[in-house]
């Protein structure tokens, strides 16, 4: 037996020797790199069509933050279940300078550049369209992936003259996704998740009206989907909401809302909507009172998340919820300041109508919930990152209302061209 083992070992040694001798021969490295030119170059073509923009990105994002700002969409790195298109060069340039001004420079001013070097995304990827789900029509406006990459969608409809829309489409998304990155680094207090734990609806949040969500304690419909989205939405909305916008969401949260039955579209209404919600009602006559035929007012209107309005529509509904008539301007007048809304209600009272608030049936104090959530976020920002959320909000608010596109675009286009394109027109 010993002899057999010896023989086997001898044979194995010979075989290994032969293998080692042949395997190690002639394996020289090729002098050429197999890495893709586009990746290995890492430099900017001075003769390139977008050289000025590429150089600006290099100087303002890529080099100082050791990151990639990608405006030439890489479809292979997107969710291929969606049909997406790249941004135009013009819109990519505009969003790039606004991203620097309204996001990076804000944190840089408050926390120093190292903050975003540490916590900022390593990739910002611009996508021209939104990701539209053909099944339910919902749109993806932004994605944060593992704290490394933020994708901003719908860049091609950027209109820098419409701060509310920019807020809704991009800056809310930026702060939302950045909040995700931050809480993926240092988790937020679990008590946040408990405030509305019974009210989250992960699958059908898009069917909820933002007014009714506010009444429960959510700053948007999307926030009502799940707790981590609620946290990101609470932070991002608090940072980007104007003072009037914040007042309005708290006002909406402080009352009950009546939802007209599905399919009960109001004829000739200015904004075709699937659903209608109202926060007050009155009886237009004693006959209507006897029939419990209510005239609802304080109609909520929301063209997109973060853009909340109340209209002057007054619609009289039968006891079974069917529309009988509509009054006032039919909803053409939209209001987003609480004092204007209250003045409208006062005008109805002045006409002799007694207004009754719609009963709040969700068993939640929406206003208190939102304020508690903001408080938790404020404490978390301070303790986890030493960041004053209110100072951040103040800085963002200032910048949102002080955007000088000509100045921001000057480094890319040159002063003369930037002024001609973005400067005040005579």
């Amino acid at each position: 037996m010993k002899r057999n083992i010896f023989n086997i070992l001898a044979a194995a040694t010979l075989a290994a020797g032969a293998l080692a001798l042949t395997a190690c021969s002639e394996d020289d490295l090729d002098p050429r790199s197999v890495l893709d030119d586009n990746l290995s170059e890492g430099n900017i073509d001075p003769d390139g069509y977008c050289y000025a923009f590429d150089q600006w990105l290099e100087d303002n994002f890529n080099r100082p933050y050791n990151m990639e700002f990608i405006y030439r969409t890489e479809f292979k790195s997107t969710d291929q279940n969606y049909n997406l298109v790249p941004p135009t060069i013009e819109k990519a340039e505009e969003l790039a300078v606004l991203t620097r001004y309204l996001w990076y420079d804000v944190y840089g001013k408050l926390q120093g550049e190292d903050f975003l070097r540490t916590y900022g995304p390593k990739i910002i990827h611009l996508i021209g369209s939104s990701g539209v789900n053909p099944a339910n029509g919902t749109e993806i406006l932004g994605l944060a992936e593992g704290g490394l990459k933020v994708s901003l969608y719908k860049v091609n409809v950027l209109d820098y003259t419409q701060p509310d829309e920019m807020n809704a489409l991009y800056f809310l998304t930026m702060h939302h996704e950045f909040t995700h990155i931050l809480h993926q680094t240092k988790t937020y207090p679990k008590e946040f998740n408990l405030i509305n734990s019974a009210n989250y609806q992960p699958t059908n949040w898009q069917d909820r009206m933002a007014s009714m969500c506010a009444s429960m304690g959510f700053v948007s419909s999307y926030a009502s989907g799940q707790s981590r989205e609620d946290f990101a939405e609470t932070c991002a909305n608090y940072i980007t909401f104007t003072p009037d916008g914040l007042d309005l969401i708290l006002w909406m949260a402080d009352r009950g809302w009546f939802k007209a039955p599905d399919g009960n579209n109001i004829a000739n209404f200015s904004f075709p909507m699937k659903d209608q919600t109202f926060c007050y009602y009155y009886y237009a006559s004693e006959k209507n009172r006897s029939l419990d035929r209510r005239t609802y007012c304080g109609q909520f209107y929301c063209p997109r998340d973060h853009c909340n309005y109340i209209t002057d529509l007054c619609a009289t509904l039968d006891a079974d919820g069917q529309v009988q008539s509509q009054q006032s301007s039919g909803g053409k007048k939209i209001m987003n300041r609480v004092e204007d809304i209250e003045a409208f209600f006062q005008s109805l009272r002045d006409k002799g109508y007694e207004l009754y608030p719609v009963e709040d049936t969700d068993n939640q104090d929406g206003k208190a919930n939102i304020l508690q959530k903001i408080s938790i976020a404020r404490d978390w920002y301070a303790s986890a990152f030493g960041l004053n959320l209110d100072a951040l909000r103040e800085e963002v608010q200032y910048r949102q209302t002080h955007i000088d596109m000509a100045e921001l675009m000057t480094p890319i286009l040159g002063a003369q061209a930037a002024q001609a394109k973005y400067g005040p027109k005579e």
Binding site: N7, A10, A11, L14, A15, G17, A18, L19, L21, T22, A23, S25, E26, D27, D30, R32, V34, D36, D37, N38, D45, D47, G48, Y49, C50, Y71, R72, T73, E74, F75, K76, Q80, Y82, N83, L84, V85, P86, P87, T88, I89, K91, A92, G128, S129, S130, G131, V132, N133, P134, A135, G137, N156
Partner: protein, 466 residues
């Protein structure tokens, strides 16, 4: 036994040594990454060294629209200039547009639009040509939104087009591309120097507008000895089925696009799909048809011809044949007869002869010849009845009645000098019917010539008889 063991041990060692030699045969002279890099470099060079650019014959993956020509000039600074003349490029360029429903004539626009964006070659699923910033000529076909100007809601899918293309093959003048997402095959063809982009796109639009008409929808495609009924060229969506098959169950729709000199199909046609598949033609792959000298569309061993001859179309109830009263559209013999008839109309009505037409009147439920004076003081225009002409090959004969018409026709037969002479003139001749239009598929103009007298002819315009 010992010898056997050592022999086995040495054999084993030798086998292992052989198995590990690096003498595997090389099927390629370079590693895959280098070959990919070479293809990218060569394609980049090919594309940028075409001073007048390229023509992309672009198809989306949906089944409701034709293909489009997009002209491209690739610059070495990574920019690409594109131009197109379709309604979606117009819309994306901020020009709005008319609905394309039931009106495919608007899908190609008279105006050329253009835009500049970026391009590059990347390594992906093979060497990929990507247009990675938005261009109004190309990317509207990939937008995920509801397509403007259509009745359906395409939200989420849009046109289902591509803007990234795998380079499948190339030579000096053609690059074969495949849409990375849709896998639709397309061609990029080099444009000759000196070709004016605007004129070239106008020529393609002319193919679309003037080759076919919804007025004459049916053609016949002959492939070898097999015949296929084809229709719908005017919309770009061609319905095809083998002659003799049931149109309802056997029709296949082919997506096409007009070219400057013909038509191209999105996918090669390899025989109409039938219920049992018996009519499929093995190995056949028709994809491009070009105009021959006869004005017909030809492909190797295949031709598309009008299904009906002009003589068959002329008497069809679908058409109204309006006689041109211009002297230059008539032969001298016919014009003399026409002039005499016009004189008779003038004498009777104190008005000029404005319209002379042959058609089937739905109100009268009869075929015949109608004439209308220019101020139309008659409450009903006179109509002289005739049996519907029955073509004999390319010829037809009229049998206009000398006694029977509508109420006004009967009165004129009694009181209008010259009407009987004109009826006799028309009835006495056999007329050869030929197309006088530029496209044989679209005989909107026809010439009727007396087979016995080439100088005796007249011209009719075929209009819809609705």
């Amino acid at each position: 036994m010992k010898a056997l063991k050592y022999t086995l041990a040495f054999l084993g060692a030798a086998t292992l040594a052989c198995a590990c030699t690096n003498e595997d045969p090389d099927y390629f002279d370079k590693a895959a990454a280098y070959r990919m890099d070479d293809i990218k470099t060569e394609t980049k060079k090919l594309l940028t060294e075409a001073p007048n650019g390229w023509e992309l014959q672009y198809f989306t993956a949906n089944d409701w629209e034709p293909g489009y020509t997009i002209l491209m000039r690739f610059n070495s600074d990574q920019s690409v200039e594109m131009a197109a003349n379709n309604i979606f490029a117009s819309f994306a360029s901020g020009n709005g547009g008319n609905s394309i429903d039931n009106n495919y004539a608007v899908i190609y626009t008279p105006k050329m639009f253009s835009d500049i964006s970026l391009w590059k070659m990347v390594s992906d699923a093979g060497p990929v040509l990507t247009f990675d910033t938005y261009n109004n000529m190309l990317h509207p076909f990939s937008d995920p939104y509801d397509v403007p100007l259509t009745a359906n809601n395409e939200a989420g899918n849009g046109h289902e087009g591509d803007y990234e293309f795998i380079v499948m093959a190339r030579n000096d003048s053609v690059v074969s591309l495949r849409g990375k997402k849709t896998e639709v095959n397309m061609l990029l063809k080099k444009l000759p120097e000196g070709l004016d982009w605007n004129e070239y796109l106008a020529k393609i639009r002319n193919t679309y507008l003037n080759t076919f008409s919804p007025l004459f929808p049916t053609q016949v495609m002959t492939i070898g000895s097999k015949r296929y009924i084809v229709s719908g060229f005017n919309s770009g969506l061609i319905d095809v089925y083998a002659e003799g098959d049931d149109a309802l169950t056997s029709t296949t729709t082919l997506i096409s696009m007009p070219l400057a000199d013909g038509y191209r199909l999105r996918e090669p046609f390899n025989g109409a799909t039938t219920v049992d598949g018996l009519n499929a033609i093995d190995g056949l792959a028709l994809q491009e048809f070009h105009f021959g000298e006869d004005g017909l569309l030809h492909a190797p061993d295949a031709v598309i011809e009008p299904y009906y001859t002009p003589a068959q179309l002329f008497p069809m109830m679908a058409y109204k044949n309006v006689v041109s009263l211009k002297e230059e559209d008539c032969g001298p013999t016919f014009y003399a007869a026409l002039d005499a008839f016009a004189g008779a109309v003038k004498k009777r009505y104190k008005q000029r002869l404005a319209t002379l037409q042959f058609y089937y009147s739905g109100a009268e439920r009869r075929y015949g010849m109608q004439f209308i004076a220019n101020k139309g003081i008659q409450s009903t225009a006179p109509m002289i009845f005739a049996p519907v002409p029955s073509p004999d090959g390319d010829n037809i004969r009229f049998e206009l009645s000398s006694t029977e018409g509508n109420l006004a026709g009967n009165l004129r037969l009694k009181d209008m000098d010259g009407l009987h002479d004109f009826i006799t003139f028309i009835n006495a001749r056999t007329w050869k019917v030929t197309s006088a239009a530029s496209s044989p598929y679209c005989p909107t103009r026809m010439r009727l010539t007396d087979v016995a007298d080439p100088d005796c002819f007249f011209t009719v315009d075929l209009l819809s008889n609705k």
